[in-house]
């Protein structure tokens, strides 16, 4: 292991390669593009494949195939590009194909897309939200493990700030061997044996037992799988000084780092402010948010959008304390990155005002 100064995007890419990802497909889009560049450089050196897909639609299609053929595979984009991938993500969940999807978001406006699913049907994807480079490696590795364990697409949400900030990270020099292909995946070898494998979002039964697919039975089974996944993943959040907090901040990702600084600043002024930072956005850490909100007179949700995660906070708190939004879509003039008025001072001022008026 050695410490290197790298662009955040490279930290994401290195984390994927370390986790055994040997297939990546992507299409350039800000602020995701550099991840594709780094994967294009890194994967061939470890015998992997990086495809420059002709569109986001084909990127996720290629990953569908690579994952079904047994390789740890990932794709990514920003919210707009992920919009194109939604059908495939929704259906991959029905097919039982797991892979990682990275959203290098512009702001935090894709929270609903990630946690409610921008696709059709009852599917869900586990969503992990690092707040900085130190967490990226761990959460990327977990994402691949979850994708294998639950045979479901798993999302990791970053953003422009994380992608383009140069950071000091410990990077592994040796990549561990990727895990071997799971039993359900395809390599052609069961062909001609009378028991050739089938992987399909329409069902898994071969026609020997009847004619055609039984979609109703398949969807009922998919419901059970999804319930098991929801119950089987432990929701996680990090709390900062919530035990005696009067005002609780809730924030994730990059915005949580600002909130953390504000908590330290306001505590030093004698104010009882705390922060709960969801790390799994789905399943949402309802219990941790509710516990942190107990005893507070106000919960304030700080997010870089028109107000999305606030819905989940309200569902977690269930009226124990009022919930307000410190939201607003604050980007720079390009709409890729964070606007200058996202700052510790600005947030601290907003929270001081809440302390006085609530």
């Amino acid at each position: 292991m050695s410490a290197r100064l790298v662009e955040g995007s490279e930290a994401f890419a290195q984390a994927m390669v370390s986790a055994g990802c040997r297939f990546f497909a992507g299409y350039p889009m800000t602020p995701f593009t550099e991840v594709l560049e780094h994967m294009a450089a890194a994967l061939p050196t470890v015998g992997g494949v990086c495809m420059n897909a002709e569109s986001e639609l084909e990127a996720v299609g290629m990953v569908w195939g690579a994952a079904a053929a047994g390789t740890r595979a990932a794709t990514g984009s920003t919210g707009q590009g992920l919009s194109l991938m939604q059908e495939s993500i929704a259906e991959a969940a029905l097919a039982g194909i797991g892979f990682v999807v990275l959203n290098m978001a512009r702001g935090q406006g894709d929270y609903f897309q990630a946690t409610r699913g921008g696709g059709h049907g009852d599917y869900r994807t586990p969503v992990l939200a690092p707040s900085g480079p130190a967490e990226v490696s761990q959460l990327i590795g977990e994402a691949f493990d979850l994708a294998d364990r639950w045979r479901n697409p798993v999302m990791v949400v970053g953003d422009y700030y994380m992608a383009h900030t140069w950071v000091d990270v410990e990077l592994s020099e040796d990549y561990p061997e990727p895990r071997s292909a799971p039993d359900w995946t395809l390599d052609g070898s069961t062909g001609g044996t009378g028991g050739a494998k089938l992987v399909s979002p329409l069902g898994t039964t071969k026609q020997r037992d009847g004619v055609g697919y039984d979609l109703a039975a398949h969807y009922a089974h998919a419901d059970q799988q999804r319930e098991a996944m929801a119950a089987g993943i432990t929701p996680r959040a990090e709390t900062t000084q919530t035990e005696d907090a009067e005002i609780l901040l809730v924030a994730y990702g990059t915005m949580a780092r600002y909130a953390e600084s504000v908590v330290a600043m306001l505590r030093s002024e004698g104010h009882a402010v705390g922060l709960v930072r969801p790390i799994t956005l789905w399943p949402y850490p309802e219990r941790q948010v509710a516990e942190a909100a107990a005893g507070c007179r106000l919960v304030a949700v700080y997010e870089n959008n028109a107000g999305q995660m606030i819905d989940d906070v309200k569902l977690s708190v269930l009226g124990v304390a009022p919930v307000v939004g410190l939201n607003g879509y604050r980007t720079d003039s390009s709409a890729f990155g964070i606007s200058p008025d996202v700052s510790v001072e600005q947030l601290a001022a907003s929270v001081r005002e809440l302390l006085e008026t609530s």
Partner: protein, 273 residues
């Protein structure tokens, strides 16, 4: 209705038990088809085309290294009864899915089976880019000139004058645009190794189509780039014709626009036509 050719005295040969003093030259279902029964219409050409593919795979000994990637359409009803590994993709998306499989498992005989609506409408971009990249997969388009599964609607291969559910007076270029000849389009792309168009409307064409499949998979195994085989299939339901008239309808109407033949081949030996 077919004219009754039986002589006045009906001499029917019993045909329910196999003879013992003969050798079998054709069996009900090929080895690589598990279950022959399917829900496709009477007279549908798709099972005949899929049989040609399975026969080619068996002939070349590729069963244990094949992965079939199916699109969505009528042929989906024939996707869960094959004895080769099958990966079901979404409408139009089979070529990108096949690319993913092929890139992580080079050497496998990865192929797609898609209708014309699936490949040429929903997914035209996918197959074109696979051709440009020279992906070592076989893309197979079952072309009946309609979206069959949804009831028989216009696709980009529907011929001028052809009646479909949403061009009920007949396709009119001014209203509905022109058809595209997909095999010709692909034959122009550097990166293809084999491009052909067959048909299954009579025994001669079925035999020729099977030879095209053998050539396509041979080219794929030799790493010559994308192999593409278009197969004209009967769709009496979509064409509003009786089942016994569909083979002629195919020959006159469909093949009039989409001509049968080998369009491009990088194989060392001469093409099957």
């Amino acid at each position: 209705m077919t004219e009754d050719r039986r002589p006045k005295e009906l001499f029917v040969i019993p045909s329910s038990e196999a003879p013992t003093d003969a050798s079998r030259v054709a069996d009900f279902t090929p080895d690589l088809i598990d279950v022959g029964e399917h829900h496709l219409c009477p007279g549908c050409g798709e099972p005949i085309a899929i049989r040609a593919v399975m026969d080619a795979i068996a002939l070349l000994g590729l069963a244990e290294k094949s992965v079939a990637v199916f699109g969505i359409g009528c042929s989906t009803a024939f996707s869960n009864n094959l004895d080769v590994e099958v990966l079901q993709a979404l409408h139009g998306r089979a070529p990108s899915v096949a690319t993913g499989v092929s890139r992580v498992r080079p050497g496998l005989a990865v192929f797609t089976i898609q209708g014309d609506g699936d490949m040429a409408n929903e997914g035209l971009q996918e197959v074109l880019h696979c051709a440009a990249r020279g992906e070592n997969i076989v893309c197979i388009m079952l072309n009946n000139g309609v979206f069959g599964e949804t009831g028989g609607h216009l696709t980009v291969t529907t011929t001028i004058g052809q009646r479909t559910k949403n061009t009920i007076e007949g396709r009119d270029a001014a209203k509905h645009g022109h058809p595209m000849r997909i095999a010709e389009l692909l034959a122009q792309i550097d990166g293809v190794g084999y491009v052909a168009r067959g048909a299954v409307n009579d025994a001669g064409n079925v035999a020729r189509t099977k030879r095209m499949m053998v050539e396509a998979f041979t080219a794929q195994q030799q790493g010559l780039g994308l192999s593409f085989v278009e197969v004209l299939t009967m769709c009496p339901t979509g064409w509003f014709v009786p089942t016994d008239e569909a083979p002629n309808y195919l020959a006159e109407t469909i093949a009039g626009t989409h001509a049968v033949g080998v369009l491009r081949s990088a194989l060392p030996s001469s093409p099957s036509d």
